[in-house]
Amino acid sequence: MIPSAFSFYKPDNLQKAINLIADFGDEGRVIAGGHSLIPVMKQRLTDIKHLIDLSAINELKGIKIKGSSISIGAMTTQVELITNAELFKVAPVIREASLQIADPQVRNLGTIGGNVANGDPANDMPGLMQLLDATYTINGKNGVREIKAREFYEGAYFTAREDDEILVSISFNSPIGGYAYEKQKRKIGDYATAAAGVILSVDNGVCSSASIALTNLSDTPIYCSDAVSMLIGKQIDDSLLSEVTKSCVEQSDPVADQRGPVEFKKYVAGIVVNKALNRAFDRS
């Protein structure tokens, strides 16, 4: 499978990339790891005339940790997220989720920026960013702006990023408490049939803070705000966790596809949410 022809650019700083994307308009696209973009180019589902490779831009790379605040450059690969010992200390849920993405070769090239900016509801990082209440920094010819991950996703492949903007980094605070990212998939390398992330802190059996997010259970990732308010301030026991699970499943809105009918996906959603809640509670 061979994509249609395009011209190729490899700018060595961010300003050059911004100028190129501003000049090309919707005929230009940036490429990060390429493991979502190249497959759709090969299937000719997209018509790109100018491809701008971001891999030579050092400003887009690296993981910065200052106390509890964490900033990750868009071009940081999944394998870097997995192997960075400092990041694991302050946000272990990232390693747990990243190890469930694709396979070793794909994780060597796939980036966090590509994964969150693509807007594919099946990608795991957008759900993870709902969980962490992350903020995306976006840069374009009209300047820099920040947008919350929880406000970024508008529909499948539709996001708040404009065509002439580049997502440059992701920032969030170190999560407190127990964590889990639970993913049900048919095989390694597959997208989630359903996946759920949970962060939970508990004082004397009472939930003091929580976050819950779902992947591939709607046309956007879901932050389960109702379920979170059911948890906070309550004594945690099995019956509360099943009520919370029920609320998350109610918030999901999956579509039938090769991974199963809607009823099955909602059933699996209940299982992954409940498993993630229990594992996060055990680790809290």
Partner: protein
């Protein structure tokens, strides 16, 4: 059609190519440089038959455009052994019947080559996770895992002997 110059090192040799930007790395290797070891299986980054080593990492060469590999150091199965002098991993695949039709084998070998450097003393489960990006439709993986475990043992023995000789 617009062409672009790409230079890279392949199996230790500097190569300069003039290719269309849309040329995939696997096509550049197979058709322009005649390294046909990297196979095209699914061409959609699922099967791993096209796996090569790029700058010390396993990658699927069907999902990289040749200009993205500008300046890269590439190793294909042709670069790790020859018919007269097989690499230990190749020997062990031969000895333990780690292949049937052989189509996935160059990808399996190249992934094992890098995986055993990342983890020289793996458990069977770690081997299976390590090669989870490579599909085999013949063997059911049993003998592939056996071959890699045997290669791990051999490579560790060799490196212990080397360490003793230096000491």
């Amino acid at each position: 059609m617009e062409k672009i110059n790409v230079s890279m090192k392949v199996n230790g040799k500097n190569e300069n190519l003039s290719v269309e930007p849309r040329t995939l790395l696997v096509h550049a290797l197979r058709e322009h440089l005649e390294y046909t070891g990297a196979h095209i299986g699914c061409s959609s980054s699922h099967c791993g038959a096209c796996t090569v080593d790029m700058n010390g990492k396993s990658v699927k060469s069907c999902t990289i455009f040749a200009p993205q590999a500008e300046g890269a150091d590439i190793l294909t199965v042709e670069g790790i052994g020859t018919p007269d002098k097989l690499h230990v991993i190749q020997e062990m695949f031969k000895e333990h019947h780690g292949l049937q039709c052989g189509y996935c084998t160059p990808g399996m070998i190249m992934r094992s080559y890098r995986f055993l450097q990342e983890n020289p003393n793996p458990t069977e489960e770690e081997v299976r996770f390590g090669i989870s990006g490579n599909l085999c439709r013949c063997t059911g993986y049993q003998n592939i895992v056996k071959s890699i475990m045997a290669a791990a043992d051999k490579l560790r023995e060799e490196s212990n002997i080397e360490k003793k000789e230096i000491a």
